[in-house]
């Protein structure tokens, strides 16, 4: 209900991404559709190789798409677009990468790393203005402005990830794709980075696409979650709904694998394992259907009936 009135910032429609040559194509993402509303945190969960990063990279125009549409603020941004729109998209959509040890240029100073994007988009800036922006961005993420003259190797993992966040913030984006921003970090640093991301969201009304494989983190930070398996989104729902009523067997397997800090129940836990052969799609083809308000699932008619039964109880 409430979703109807909210502005859709990003729409992905039947997205397909293909790698490899024409003769031997590999479809990494097929038929993926979802909307991201302004100001929300949308989570994309899946195993490695499921295509979650590919979707993120397709949105930010790193991976070319082979079919479907990506619509950002009412404009199509995949495929061939005008130079002027490309520039706007570059500024408004930013990405935070997974491994802070690998994603910063080791030979550049923090000042350059953070302001590189600005140099391309706002060419008219004077040196002073640029430096002011860099120190503002650094202090926004809780780093000292003096750090601008240092090299990445002088920082710890958590600080490096903050530099990664600063360099995306300096572009004043509306939409940030965070690709496993905390999986390479220690537990205590994780908490700091998560807190930073959510306070930035509150201050600036940012919209996040949060990509991760760890559902326990997702539950804490996201509003809605899409579960992706082998390039296909199998279930999409509001976070709490998904945790309360996981329907698709793959979602259930993922949920059962979350480690909990409770030894007694953890030692009795039975792991659910997802076996893709449990679906019989030979005759009855699966479809992307809305099973209840805002809860989508990939299933065929027979499964839908079962899932509806389960929801009633």
């Amino acid at each position: 209900m409430q979703n109807e009135t909210r502005e859709k910032l990003l729409q992905v429609k039947n997205l397909e991404v293909t790698f490899g040559s024409k003769r031997k194509p590999f479809v990494a993402v097929k038929g993926v559709s979802f909307d991201i509303y302004k100001g929300e945190t949308f989570g994309l969960v899946g195993e490695s190789g499921s295509g979650k990063t590919t979707i993120g990279r397709a949105i930010i125009r790193i991976n070319p798409t082979s079919a479907g549409e990506i619509i950002f603020k009412g404009e199509k941004i995949n495929g061939k677009i005008s130079h002027e729109l490309d520039k706007r998209v570059t500024q408004q959509i930013q990405m935070i990468f997974q491994d802070p040890m690998a994603s910063l240029n080791e030979r550049a100073k923090v000042d350059y790393i953070v302001s590189e994007g600005l140099m391309n988009v706002q060419k008219h800036l004077t040196k002073e203005e640029r430096e002011a922006k860099v120190s503002k961005a650094l202090s926004d993420v809780g780093l000292l402005p003096e750090f601008a003259s240092r090299f990445p190797h002088e920082f710890s993992g958590g600080q490096r990830q903050r530099i990664g966040i600063a360099r995306s913030l300096i572009m004043e984006p509306e939409f940030i794709i965070a690709d496993e921003p905390i999986s390479a970090l220690d537990v205590s640093i994780r908490a700091q980075v998560l807190n930073l991301l959510s306070s930035l969201q509150k201050e600036r009304g940012l919209t996040y696409l949060f990509i991760a494989h760890d559902l326990s983190v997702m539950r804490f930070i996201t509003d809605r979650i899409a579960v992706i398996h082998k390039g296909v989104i199998v279930e999409l729902a509001e976070t709490e709904k998904l945790f309360a009523h996981p329907l698709h067997p793959y979602t259930r397997a993922l949920l059962s694998a979350i480690p909990m800090p409770d030894p007694i129940s953890e030692k009795q836990k039975v792991l659910e394992v997802y076996d893709p052969t449990c679906h019989d799609y030979s005759v009855d083809k699966p479809q992307w259907s809305e099973i209840e308000e805002g809860h989508f699932i990939m299933a065929n008619e027979k499964e839908l009936a079962e899932y509806r039964d389960r929801l009633k109880n």
């Binding site: 195993e47 480690p259 800090p261 030894p263 836990k269």
Partner: protein, 353 residues
Amino acid sequence: MEQEVILSVKDLNVKFSLRGQVLHAIRGISLDIYKGESLAIVGESGSGKSVFTKNFIGLLDKNGWVDSGEIWYNGMDLAKFKTEKEWTKIRGKEVAMVMQDPMTSLNPLKTIGWQIEEALKLHQGLMGEAAKQRAIEIIDDVGIPEPERRYKQYPHEFSGGMRQRVVIAIAMACNPKILICDEPTTALDVTIQAQILNLIRELQKKYQLTSIYITHDLGVVANVADRIAVMYAGDIVEIGTCNEVFYAPQHPYTWALLSSLPQLGIKGEDLYSIKGTPPNLFNKVRGDAFAPRNPHALKIDFLHRPPYFEVSPTHKARTWLLDPRSPKVEPPEHIKNIRNIRANMDQKEGGAQ
């Protein structure tokens, strides 16, 4: 119940020399490891958890040395070992290690079979067909399907989880008594992580292994550990059985580690995060190393290093808060009801299936 001690560490001090300075990485740890148990060592990066266990297989970096202390295993003091020849008797055969990243700990140019056989040849003198048969048995043992076909494949033909199984297979090849797993699942997906932990647990039961897990994530070890040692700045600050550490943690650092788990976070509120950074071990640490970051720190924490206070025969913690003279400090509210966290969570949502 009297348990047999398999490895005993007595007041171990390890130092490193770095750029002319001396870093005191392990500051006087004493620890008994019992036969057949699984011990988890938990701490932030830089707390010395890896360095501590590397002493058991002689893999300390060249610039590090055991300054004082003893490591007793099978009547031998491992801390006195100097030459590679001495270490080969222990390494692999008695104590084996599974490293963190399965992508980098295998040789990409050799087949999986060759890499497992290498260990068999070196330690058990198996050759030719016998070695091959044994290698295939081991591959089967760690739950890799089609062992005969897999035997001939190269590491790049395996997924991350399967590679970690291969690494475990190599570690298990010589029937070690102690298996050290250094962050065995951090590089893996959640579902695969659960499978690998299950595998290690099964192997442990089957071969009466003693296993040591090293991890920074307390959430992971609830499932696998019998005992948990929490390390901070080169020292064990709290040790107890799994239930004791999770349900009745005593040290403020353990509280902080538990509180920062996203599983316990409340949506919309900030997650607890530990302020500041761990102490610089180049300098001499005075008092309790955690005191500067500890919101409950007492004056004495900055002056004198706390001794171990015994909570129960199996549970002790290094904090002045346990001294009868200190004020009573309650652990944070939300970590008190860790028990049944999953059940409580489901109730809040109106009952999940």
